[in-house]
């Protein structure tokens, strides 16, 4: 899984530049999808909540806008190794503007129980 961090990369860019970078990002997604390397991906709205505490009793706003750490989106990759996933991450068009990409292997089994997780279309996706 590629986790795109940084929702402030557009700061200092003109709107035309923002559109250009966002356009590059979409083209990158389309190309990877056509190559069969991406099985899913989405941008996230810059809003949401953070739930915590026993019974989820704490529901807080998150710092999802304009933050270096906030997650802006993700890709789910279908590649053979972490190295390959890292190589793809290095192509991210947001990198020159301060975005970072966290690269994490996906497991399709719960590490604890060894049980297969619920059946879903992404069960074969590994990164």
């Amino acid at each position: 899984m590629l986790i795109f961090r940084g929702t402030d990369w557009h700061n200092g860019l003109s709107p035309e530049q923002m559109q250009q970078v966002a356009g590059q990002w979409m083209a990158w997604f389309k190309r990877l999808t056509a190559e069969g390397k991406v099985v899913a991906g989405n941008p996230l709205e810059r809003e949401g909540k953070i739930v915590s505490g026993k019974n989820g009793r704490v529901v807080a706003d998150g710092p999802f806008a304009e933050s270096k750490e906030a997650i802006g989106g993700y890709f789910l990759l279908n590649v053979a190794s972490l190295d390959e996933a890292v190589a793809i991450a290095q192509e991210c068009p947001g990198l020159p503007y301060g975005a970072r990409v966290e690269v994490r292997p996906v497991m399709d089994q719960c590490a604890l129980s060894g049980e297969a997780l619920p059946d879903n279309q992404l069960a074969e996706a590994t990164a």
Binding site: Q19, N42, P43, E47, G72
Partner: protein, 135 residues
């Protein structure tokens, strides 16, 4: 604007299973399985996977900086995700609140899936405002 009413849940926290007795572990695993079974039966669960506690963080102009990460001990590490299809953010939040591992100091981030990159939408808005201003 929510795309297809999809929401991403990201679970953060340490390895909550550390330090639990075998009994507590078994009970919690049953609760988790029950939670997943219920979600699946409801048709609201589109995908769910754990993430291995290893990987890399890529940064720098051409992604030339590749650091090991994240660190397993950190509370901030994303341990897994769920992709839900529900009618509202409140419903996604309710599902997050019912996760059996929250009591072990886990945190669930609930985010609506966007129909397009918010920066793209923002740029378009600025451009149309500029055009309006100079018209």
């Amino acid at each position: 604007m929510d795309a297809n009413n999809e929401y991403l849940l990201l679970f953060r926290g340490k390895e909550w299973w550390n330090g639990l007795s075998a009994e507590e572990l078994r009970t919690t695993m049953e609760q988790i399985k029950g939670w997943f079974d219920q979600l699946e039966a409801s048709g609201k669960l589109k995908a769910a996977q754990p993430l291995a506690r290893e990987g890399a963080v890529v940064s720098g102009r051409n992604g030339t900086i590749v650091a090991d990460g994240p660190f397993a001990e950190s509370k901030e590490v994303i341990g897994g995700y769920l992709l839900l299809q529900v009618d509202s953010l409140n419903e996604a939040i309710a599902i997050a609140r019912s996760c059996p591992t929250l009591k072990f100091d886990m945190q669930a981030e609930v985010r609506p899936i966007a129909g397009e990159c918010p920066s793209m939408a923002y740029a378009r808005q600025i451009i149309s405002e500029q055009q309006f201003a100079t018209a």
